[in-house]
C-alpha cells in the first residue's frame, strides 16, 4: 500500500517545497538513516566472509583483509550440519503455512458469508489465541505433546506456530472474502454451485493476494520463532535455525567463534529478506490490515 504511487495531486505540497533549501537537509538525513539502519547487516555480512582469525581479531577491523568462506564451511558442518537445520526450519514453516491456509480460508469464508446462529460463541473461541499469550500455555502443551510423541517433531512445533499465526490469518481471510462483491456470488448461486464450490471456484481465486499474505506471514514468523523452538526442539538433530544460532554461539569450550556466528546470522536472515523484498507489497498491506483495520 505504501509503495503504491499516490495520485499526482498528492504531491502539490511536496512540490511547493521542492526547491526550498530544506530538501538538501532531508536528502542528507535520509542517507544518514539508510547508513545507520543498513550498517549492522552489512558489517555482519562482511564479518562472515573474513577468515576465522580475522573475524575474531582484537581490536576488530571493519572490512575483511581477505575473502574467505571458512566461516560458512564451519557452519555447514556444525553438529548435524546446516542442511539439517535449514530443512527443519523449512519443513516446520511449510507445515505452518499449510495449516494456516487450510484452517483460516474456510473459517474466513464461514464468518464472512454465512448468517450463523451463535456466531458470538465462535468469535469468543477464535479470540482465545489472542487473549491467551502462547508463552503462557507452553508447559501444558509440552506435557501433552510429550504424551503423544510430538516433542522434537516438525508437526509439534508447526502446531504451536499455527496457534501463533491463526488469529491474523483468519482476520485477513475474512476481510478478503468480505471484499468480494455479492453479485459474483449470487451469479454462482443461480448456476447451482454448492457453498463449497463457491469457496473453491470463486472465493479462493479472487482472494489470492490474501492467501499469499497469510502464507508470507506464516513463513516469516515460523522461520523466526524462538521460544517454542527452544523448548520443543531440544535435540541437536531437531533444532531450527534460531536455535542453531544460539548453539553456534555457545560453541566449543566457551570461546565464541565470531566468524561462524555471523555466517549463521546471515544464513538465518537471507530467506526473510529475499521473501520480503520479493513480496513487499503483500507484506505491507498485511501488516496494515492486521494492525489497523
Amino acid at each position: 500500500m505504501t509503495s503504491a504511487a499516490l495520485a499526482p495531486e498528492a504531491h502539490t505540497v511536496a512540490t511547493r517545497r521542492a526547491v526550498s533549501p530544506g530538501t538538501y537537509g532531508i536528502v542528507a538525513i535520509s542517507i544518514a538513516v539508510i547508513a545507520i539502519m543498513a550498517a549492522p547487516i552489512v558489517l555482519s555480512a562482511l564479518a562472515s566472509i573474513k577468515t576465522a582469525a580475522d573475524a575474531s581479531a582484537i581490536p576488530p577491523h571493519y572490512l575483511p583483509r581477505e575473502l574467505s568462506f571458512e566461516n560458512y564451511a564451519k557452519v555447514f558442518q556444525f553438529q548435524a550440519g546446516l542442511a539439517t537445520y535449514v530443512a527443519n526450519s523449512a519443513l516446520v514453516a511449510a507445515m505452518t503455512i499449510a495449516a494456516c491456509l487450510a484452517l483460516a480460508a474456510p473459517t474466513g469464508y464461514g464468518l464472512a458469508r454465512f448468517a450463523m446462529r451463535g456466531k458470538e460463541i465462535a468469535f469468543l473461541i477464535l479470540l482465545a489465541p489472542i487473549m491467551i499469550p502462547y508463552q503462557a500455555i507452553l508447559t501444558p502443551l509440552y506435557l501433552d505433546f510429550a504424551k503423544f510423541g510430538l516433542v522434537n517433531t516438525h508437526l509439534g512445533l508447526a502446531i504451536v506456530h499455527t496457534i501463533l499465526q491463526l488469529p491474523f490469518s483468519i482476520f485477513l481471510m475474512r476481510a478478503s472474502f468480505e471484499a468480494i462483491p455479492r453479485e459474483i456470488e449470487e451469479a454462482a448461486v443461480v448456476d447451482g454451485c454448492s457453498t463449497w464450490q463457491r469457496l473453491t471456484r470463486i472465493f479462493l481465486p479472487l482472494a489470492v493476494p490474501g492467501l499469499v499474505t497469510v502464507a508470507l506471514f506464516a513463513f516469516i514468523n515460523s522461520w523466526n520463532e524462538f521460544l517454542a523452538a527452544l523448548i520443543f526442539m531440544n535435540r541437536n538433530t531437531s533444532f531450527t535455525v534460531p536455535i542453531l544460532l544460539v548453539s553456534v554461539r555457545a560453541g566449543k569450550f566457551g570461546a565464541v567463534d565470531w566468524g561462524a556466528l555471523q555466517a549463521s546470522v546471515i544464513v538465518s536472515i537471507i530467506p526473510c529478506l529475499a521473501v520480503y523484498l520479493a513480496l513487499q507489497r503483500y507484506y505491507i498491506s498485511g501488516l496494515l490490515s492486521g494492525a489497523v483495520k
Binding site: 530544506g22 549492522p40 454465512f114 448468517a115 450463523m116 508463552q135 524462538f226 536472515i269
Partner: protein, 293 residues
C-alpha cells in the same frame, strides 16, 4: 439465497468447525490444564498434589517475579515512546513517494522481517567489548575513550537491548504511521499551507492529531510485544548481571523449563495472562470500533 437461509445457519458452522476444534484442542484445553496445574505442586519428577492457591500466595512473596515484572514494565515504558516517536519522525521523513524516500523506507523496514534471535546475536557481537564494531566505532569517533563492557552492568545491558530493539522494530510503527499520513486528506494540508502554517505546525497540529487512533493502536501492539519480551534478553543478557535483567516471560521460563517447578510456573503464567488480558482487551476494543466506522 433466502431460500437456504435456515440451511446456512449450520453451513457456516461447518466451515468454522475445524478451526474451533484446533483452537479448542491446542489453546483452550491447555489453558484449562494450566489453571489446574497452577493449583498443584507438580514438578518434572511428578507430584501434582492439589495445593489450592498456595502457588499464588508464593508469587505474592516472590521478589524475583516482582523484580522481573517491574523490569519488564520499565523496559516497556522506556522502549514504547522511543519506538513511537522515532517511528513517527521517520514516517514524516519518508511519507512522500520519491525514489529516495521509498528506498529509505525499505531499508528502515528490513530489520522488522528478520528474526529477533538473529538481530540479538548480531547486536551481541556489535556490543562485544573485544571484537564489537560498535565499540570500535565509538572509540574511533572519540565518543568513548575505550571499549565499554555493555553486559556487565544492568543499566548498560538494558540500554544495549533497547538500542538493538529500536533498530529492529522502529520500521513497524513507521509503516503504520506512513499509512496514516498518506490517508490524510491533502486538501486539509494544502489549506494549512495557504493559511501560512509551517511544516512543523502542520505536523503537530494536523498530522499527529489525525493519526491518533493509529498511534494508539501501534502503541498497544508495541507495548504487548515488550511486555512479553524474552528472546532478546535470553540471548543478549541471559538475565544477568546477577539476575537483574529477567523479564516476566523469562522468569516463567526459568521456573518451568530450567527449575522444572511446573505448578508454580503455571501460576506465574496465569498472572501474566491476566496482565496481558488488559492490554489485548483494549486492542480488540479499538480494532472493533474502527471496523464499525
Amino acid at each position: 439465497m433466502s431460500t437456504s437461509r435456515s440451511f446456512d445457519q449450520w453451513r457456516g458452522w461447518l466451515y468454522v468447525a475445524p478451526t474451533l476444534l484446533f483452537v479448542g484442542v491446542f489453546v483452550v484445553i491447555p489453558f484449562g490444564q494450566l489453571i489446574v496445574m497452577s493449583m498443584t505442586d507438580r514438578s518434572l519428577l511428578g507430584g501434582g498434589k492439589f495445593i489450592g492457591f498456595s502457588n499464588y500466595v508464593r508469587i505474592w512473596n516472590d521478589s524475583g517475579f516482582w523484580g522481573a515484572l517491574l523490569f519488564t514494565v520499565k523496559y516497556t515504558i522506556v522502549l514504547t515512546p522511543i519506538l513511537m516517536i522515532l517511528g513517527f519522525a521517520l514516517a514524516l521523513l519518508t511519507a512522500d513517494n520519491t525514489p529516495l524516500k521509498r528506498l529509505t523506507r525499505t531499508i528502515i523496514f528490513l530489520p522488522v522481517v528478520i528474526g529477533l534471535s538473529s538481530s540479538s546475536l548480531l547486536w551481541f557481537w556489535l556490543f562485544d567489548e573485544q571484537v564489537g564494531l560498535l565499540n570500535k566505532l565509538l572509540v574511533d569517533l572519540r565518543v568513548i575513550a575505550q571499549p565499554m563492557v555493555w553486559f556487565a552492568s544492568a543499566d548498560l545491558a538494558f540500554w544495549a537491548v533497547v538500542i538493538s530493539i529500536t533498530w529492529k522494530v522502529v520500521g513497524f510503527g513507521m509503516v503504520l504511521f506512513i499509512a496514516a499520513i498518506q490517508s490524510i486528506d491533502r486538501e486539509i494540508l494544502e489549506a494549512a499551507v495557504i493559511d501560512g502554517a509551517g511544516y512543523w505546525k502542520r505536523a503537530f497540529l494536523i498530522i499527529v492529531p489525525l493519526s491518533r487512533r493509529i498511534i494508539l493502536l501501534a502503541t498497544l501492539v508495541s507495548a504487548i510485544g515488550s511486555m512479553l519480551a524474552f528472546d532478546q534478553f535470553y540471548i543478549m543478557t541471559s538475565g544477568g548481571p546477577r539476575g537483574q535483567t529477567f523479564t516476566a516471560v523469562y522468569w516463567i521460563y526459568q521456573n518451568s523449563f530450567v527449575s522444572f517447578r511446573l505448578g508454580y510456573g503455571a501460576a506465574l503464567s496465569i498472572v501474566l495472562t491476566l496482565i496481558i488480558f488488559v492490554f489485548s482487551t483494549l486492542q480488540i476494543g479499538l480494532t472493533a470500533r474502527s471496523e464499525a466506522q
